[in-house]
Subunit: 333 residues, 2 copies
């Protein structure tokens, strides 16, 4: 048996086999249960809860796969609220005929990524869709995390004077997926930035009790996220375009395709808004953590141009970053 | 704009419009957030967590639709652990071209069903898949509930001597979906039993502090669930086939098709294992609650035939219920 069959989704013995030989093999932990829901110890503080669906095509790409991505996405959403990820659930929708070895590769990546940040995968669900009813594999993850009492991050909490930090070079994931699809016939060694960032966030919470905003720049990229924060916090955002880290190979590809790295998805990059007094400590904590060594200060929060993002250009001028619109960016998820 | 477009999944302004005009319109509550995760008060006890994916075809059927189903499924999974449902998240994968009016109908049903049991829908995610990448609409819901300290239900807790109660007539949902698909050309007025059962479970927890097992008989039906419990609790299960409630119209259709109602899915039926001393109180509490008025005692847990389900027949004999196997039951989800 090397392919998924409709029987794997029947709820009968083939489903039980799949659970035992693929899911439990990698994901087993003390909270796994045969019951309808996992029973879990009470979290220590307020909880954060988030859900995200993953339909990335292709599902396997340089630097990751849909399994790793599905854990990073939800772990990072919780981390943005300053929440230690405690429990994750995952729902799979698998197309009939999907290779079990590929499923196993994705599940293995999920287990490894979850272990890196100490989150438990406590429950799962598998549905098999008929051939053509779904494109390969969809994964939906949902996470619960606990928030320390003194942490209050929000996209609405940015304040004029805050320093803006991005945790690494931007646009890698979006560029990587475009190249992997090979629609453009461009070859370049771009790997996805996909990474679980709780450990890095924890390090920053340890050095600052006054972080205003953390947000991950996934769909829509850093540009979309900054416009969201400018609107929610009713502030202006001023970027120094010479400070925004972009890898040479990403700059090369996006230049050829006429795309702006600020609007390409990241899957392992956060944007921080931090009071100036704490900004160096936060920056250093990030630069000392895995996955965020490339952290850089890219701008500041201001009182004017409320709701807008402006860029100071290389020749010293100031220009408006075109706001995110209805434009169909290359679909990468 | 009356159909879903790829732009609705871009994370840009079309996504924001869809969230405002469809999702927030019906689901809005104090915990809705523009941030990456909802921040929620700490639950009062141990928590239960469960996830379920819904890919039912057709997505609209007599007695419900995929939206209602997606709330009932997860609410009922939590209820089986004796957990009051607190928070739900929902992940949508929508096919390009899906009618927005239909989506709205599903979301409206979600809101109504959630309100009935007092659960908050605290976060959501929307992905749009290209035409042909997904069949209409998939919904994945995940729930967190809180469990009172004195409640310890599990499929592994059934004990010889326990009375077995089913909360209503069985096989409705599976039969309804088969008829709605019209593959068989049979017309019969069968509606789905799809219902959220927390209020009924709460009523039983109020009258008994010694409920051993509650499990919902979804995929695989009551027969599969009983085999699971027999195995997990290492007991035998003896059913009185004359006591198993089956609606006449369900009996008629399943008779024609050669299907056993014990193996057809329910979406609003629970199986209880309760000590004999509490069984009448639990039965009466169910019969007095919404959605479970048809509750009936259908058998008992025994010490022999461990791992098996036997049926006493109408003429007084005893027969083995064929165990659930790899057989492809009609796919109803």
């Amino acid at each position: 048996m090397d392919k998924i069959t409709l029987g794997h989704g029947s709820g009968g013995s083939a489903t039980a086999d799949l659970i035992d030989h693929v899911f439990k093999k990698y994901l087993n932990n003390e909270y796994f249960t045969a019951d309808d829901a996992s029973v879990l110890p009470r979290p220590l503080g307020r909880i954060a809860m988030s859900t995200d669906g993953f339909i990335v095509s292709p599902a396997f790409f340089p630097g990751g796969n849909i399994g790793k991505l599905s854990i990073c996405g939800t772990v990072n959403d919780l981390a943005c609220m300053g929440a230690r990820p405690l429990y994750l659930t995952c729902g799979f929708v698998i197309e009939e005929g999907f290779p079990i070895a590929k499923l196993e590769e994705a599940v293995k990546a999920m287990a490894k990524t979850a272990a890196e940040v100490g989150v438990h995968i406590v429950a799962g669900d598998t549905k098999v869709a008929g051939k053509g009813q779904v494109d390969g594999l969809f994964i939906t993850t949902t996470g619960v995390g606990e928030i320390a009492d003194d942490v209050h991050t929000s996209g609405a909490n940015a304040k004029a004077g805050d320093v803006i930090i991005v945790t690494g070079d931007i646009g890698r994931h979006g560029t990587c997926i475009l190249l992997t699809r090979d629609d453009y016939g461009i070859e370049a060694p771009v790997t996805s930035d996909c990474a679980p960032l709780w450990n890095a966030v924890k390090a920053t919470l340890d050095v600052s009790h006054d972080i205003h905003t953390i947000r991950d720049a996934t769909r829509g990229g850093v540009g979309t996220v900054l416009y969201e924060i400018a609107r929610e916090s009713q502030v202006g955002i001023k970027l120094d375009s010479t400070k925004i880290p972009v890898a040479d190979e990403v700059r090369g590809v996006t230049g050829m395709l006429g795309l702006d790295p600020l609007y390409l998805a990241c899957e392992g990059r956060l944007v921080y808004m931090v009071p100036e007094k704490d900004s160096q400590a936060v920056l250093k904590a990030l630069q000392a953590s895995d996955h965020t060594q490339g952290a850089a200060i890219i701008g500041k929060v201001v009182n004017d141009h409320v709701g807008q993002v402006t860029l100071t250009t290389e020749i010293g001028g100031e220009t408006l970053l075109p706001p995110p619109g209805n434009e169909l960016l290359p679909r990468i998820c």
